[in-house]
């Protein structure tokens, strides 16, 4: 093996130094020496030597090459043969196929004929000095391309070297190949050992990158030949970038549009309205604000009267009394639970939830209650577990009385209002008999009764802060507006009464018609003498009423404070603000 390596080195050195003019005097060896022997196809081989100066042809002429084949161990019969054919330059000896014996050791000697001395000697086997020629005809084809178009596979194919092609075909010699590839600009070669095939599969090449590929051949178990000329592979890639950029552009445009929509929607109320519709406020069915302005109170009254919330049946004596049950057990929380009592009938959980008004306030809030909730047990006097309008509805259903139109409603006047004569400890109101209180047709009646009743109503309705009942506002406004007309701060009211045109109308009404505006809107009541009435000052947490001392000249607190609830319901603590009387 060492001789083989030595021969290789010599050969490469010979090849490298052939172009260099041998003018250097400082060579390593001044004597002629063998540079190497090599074979291409295991059929012929040649040996080369060099001398100090190639110009001296006489010296070259003097050199002779002799060889001998070691046969067996008969070294006594050493018959040296001379080189069969010398090259023209006399520095190479060519052994043709008939003179080449494979698998036999050769001994080569370089002699000088004149001097008869041996300059150099080497021994080898021919198969050890085989350096096949490089393959020819390299070309590549695209095998496949990845889905993204970035990675692709390539097949490189070539032909066996022409000098050895014949031998390979007949099986005389077996050539194996090695493929090397690298990126242009890189120094690292990647090797593929693919055996006898004259093609190589190169996987994982990147597109738009230039690669350099070269192939070399060798006999299996022996030496590699020189590399072939490199070929360059460049796979263009056009389409991949377009979808990526399009996707990026599309994504950014989409995000921008979404942001714009968000910004615009915040600023535009209309869009907000579309996305978040406002909670509809209560509206009186059939009430035309124009009526209020024009002073057509009769129709107004009739409309109000037909409202089930204000039906006379509710205000009949008995149910009224029943109605004013106060449950002391649960005084806390919302005041709507003022009238909570045990009832086997349905327990509405929360006032607000059960009285969801989804018809924009047009219909009565009581109607759903009347239909859904307790139809039974409504006459139960002391038991009212329902909040808000339940009692009202009970009372209402308990004593059904036809709602009468304004001009005729005697029944209206009969049971709607009554005078509170006393308040029991339990919180029950004791009402005075009602014959004093006859409703007169659309006439101004005593306001105080009305106020009292309205206050109770307010309280009861205040009990239901979330109730969508409209009457409380009207009641409050009626009370306040009636009692202190010039002192009404319209600003306050207007703040809280945006959505209630009826209220505004009432206010205007009160402002305009001093005396009889509001009183005529409601069934008139006989106004009892002042000493007979006491003002409810407030409702404490126990649902007991605070009554004010009888001061007829109590200053009216005209100012209605801004109501906490948007609908303008009064809480007990704000009752002070209501103009007492």
């Amino acid at each position: 093996m060492e001789t083989t390596l030595f021969i290789c080195i010599l050969f490469t050195g010979a090849v490298a130094t052939q172009s260099v003019p041998p003018t250097k005097q400082g060579q390593t060896s001044t004597l002629p020496h063998l540079t190497g022997c090599f074979s291409r196809e295991l059929m012929t081989f040649r040996c080369q030597w060099e001398t100090r100066s190639l110009h001296n042809t006489t010296e070259l002429e003097d050199l002779r090459l002799f060889y001998i084949l070691e046969k067996d161990s008969k070294k006594s019969e050493r018959k040296w043969s001379e080189c069969p054919s010398y090259s023209s330059m006399r520095n190479e000896c060519y052994f043709n196929s008939s003179n080449t014996v494979i698998w036999y050791p050769y001994v080569i000697q370089l002699r000088s004929q004149a001097l008869g001395i041996v300059y150099d000697e080497m021994s080898f086997n021919v198969e050890d000095i085989v350096f096949p020629d490089p393959p020819i005809g390299l070309n590549w084809t695209l095998l496949s391309m990845g889905s993204t178009g970035l990675i692709c596979d390539v097949v490189v194919s070539w032909d066996p070297p022409p000098s050895a092609a014949e031998n390979v075909k007949i099986g005389w010699m077996l050539l194996v190949y090695e493929t090397q590839y690298k990126e242009k600009g890189s120094d690292q070669w990647n090797s593929l050992d693919n055996g006898k095939d004259t093609q190589a599969y190169v996987y994982g090449l990147r597109s738009n990158t230039e690669y350099e590929v070269r192939v070399r051949s060798k006999m299996r178990g022996y030496n590699f030949g020189v590399f072939s000329d490199s070929i360059f592979i460049l796979i263009p890639n056009k389409e991949t970038r377009i979808p990526i950029t399009a996707m990026l552009v599309f994504a950014t445009v989409g995000i921008a549009i979404i942001l714009m929509l968000i910004v615009v929607s915040r600023q535009q109320n209309r869009l907000m309205v579309i996305f978040l519709p406002p909670v509809p406020g209560p509206k009186i069915k059939g009430i035309d604000p124009v009526l209020l302005q024009k002073g057509q109170l009769c129709e107004f009254t009739s409309i109000l009267g037909t409202h089930p919330g204000l039906r006379p049946e509710l205000y009949s004596n008995d149910p009224w009394v029943e109605f004013i049950e106060v449950d002391i057990d649960e005084p806390h929380e919302s005041q709507e639970e003022l009238l909570i009592a045990d009832s086997p009938v349905s327990q509405s959980p929360q006032m607000s939830s059960s009285f969801r008004d989804d018809d924009s306030g047009r219909a009565s809030c009581c109607d759903p209650d009347l239909s859904d909730h307790d139809q039974t047990d409504l006459h139960h006097p002391a038991t009212s577990s329902h909040d808000g309008f339940h009692p009202l509805s009970r009372a209402h259903s308990g004593s059904p009385q036809p709602a009468s139109v304004c001009p005729q409603d005697t029944t209206w006047s009969n049971s709607l209002y009554s005078q509170v004569s006393d308040v029991t400890q339990r919180g029950e109101f004791v009402l005075s008999p009602e014959e004093q209180e006859r409703m007169k047709t659309c006439h101004n009646e005593t306001q105080k009764d009305k106020d009292k009743n309205k206050r109770k109503e307010i309280e009861q309705l205040v009990v239901i802060p979330d109730e969508r009942g409209y009457t409380s506002e009207l009641v409050a406004s009626a009370i306040s507006g009636h009692n202190s007309k010039p002192n009404l701060p319209k600003t306050d009211q207007s703040q809280s009464q945006e959505q209630h045109s009826a209220f505004k109308g009432i206010q205007n009404l009160s402002a305009e018609t001093n005396t009889s505006s509001l009183s005529t809107a409601f069934p008139t009541l006989e106004k009892p003498t002042s000493p007979e009435y006491t003002m409810v000052d407030g409702v404490d947490w126990k649902n007991s009423l605070f009554l004010k001392p009888n001061t007829p000249t109590t200053q009216q607190k005209a100012a209605m404070k801004t109501l906490p609830t948007p609908e303008g319901y009064l809480t007990p603590d704000l009752l002070d603000n209501i103009t007492p009387n």
């Binding site: 093996m1 060492e2 001789t3 295991l42 059929m43 084949l69 046969k71 067996d72 161990s73 196929s97 008939s98 003179n99 080449t100 014996v101 494979i102 698998w103 036999y104 050791p105 086997n125 198969e127 075909k169 007949i170 099986g171 005389w172 010699m173 077996l174 299996r220 178990g221």
Partner: protein, 228 residues
């Protein structure tokens, strides 16, 4: 009645075909069974022989490299090209052109002589390798494999000789007894001897492979391979 006869015929036919199928797959190397149903075709035989020779050559190459690695672990023992009877040519030297012109008989003989020469040295090598301390199991497996495959190749070549040259073509020339089988106590000598066995066997394996390939080409594809 008809049904039973038909069934019998079918069964007989099936059995006969099965026998024929099975018989054709069986290799009958050393038996002179009558009929052509018990022989393998020449092409398949040559193909198998060539495959054997190729594999043996490859494994011998690997074994040599493994042995050299083992020598490196021993401290870089420098083993020059071994000289001795191991690498001595066993047959008459010929150039390629001469070989191409030589007859098939000569090729087969040469191959057979070579194979028979190497059976014993490989067996000795196996025992010698097992005595080493840090021999790799790969090397042991390979040498064992080579010994077995070489014997099977010998059997195949014998069959080839019989098929190509006929019964009378087998003239076994017993090779000379090699005198290299010296049991040396010197450890270095043992190493050198084992290395020469591997080195020279590799050369001869290459020779055997080349000869068989040439023979195959000649026998199968006579137009392209003959260089007369």
């Amino acid at each position: 009645m008809k049904k039973t006869t038909v069934l019998q015929v079918c069964v007989a036919f099936v059995l006969c075909s099965l026998q024929a199928v099975i018989a054709s797959a069986v290799d009958c190397p050393d038996q002179e069974t009558g009929g052509t149903s018990c022989t393998i075709s020449l092409e398949k035989l040559l193909e198998r022989a060539v495959q054997h020779a190729e594999l043996i050559y490859r494994v011998s190459e690997e074994s040599k490299l493994l042995f050299e690695e083992m020598l490196v672990s021993f401290g870089g023992v420098n083993l020059h090209v071994p000289s001795g009877t191991m690498c001595a040519p066993k047959t008459v030297s010929m150039s390629k052109s001469e070989i191409q012109q030589i007859s098939d008989k000569w090729i087969l003989h040469s191959v057979l002589i070579l194979i028979q020469f190497w059976i014993n040295p490989l067996a000795d090598l196996q025992t010698s390798l097992e005595s080493y301390e840090n021999v790799s199991s790969a090397l042991l497996d390979r040498s064992r494999w080579m010994s077995s495959k070489l014997m099977s190749l010998e059997q195949g070549v014998v069959v080839l000789v019989r098929q190509i040259l006929g019964d009378g073509g087998l003239l076994l020339e017993v090779p000379e007894e090699t005198s290299d089988r010296i049991v040396s106590s010197n450890w270095l000598e043992t190493l050198r001897r084992d290395y020469s066995v591997l080195y020279c066997f590799r050369k001869d394996a290459h020779k055997i492979e080349t000869f068989l390939k040439l023979l195959k080409c000649r026998q199968i594809d006579k137009e392209n391979c003959s260089f007369f």
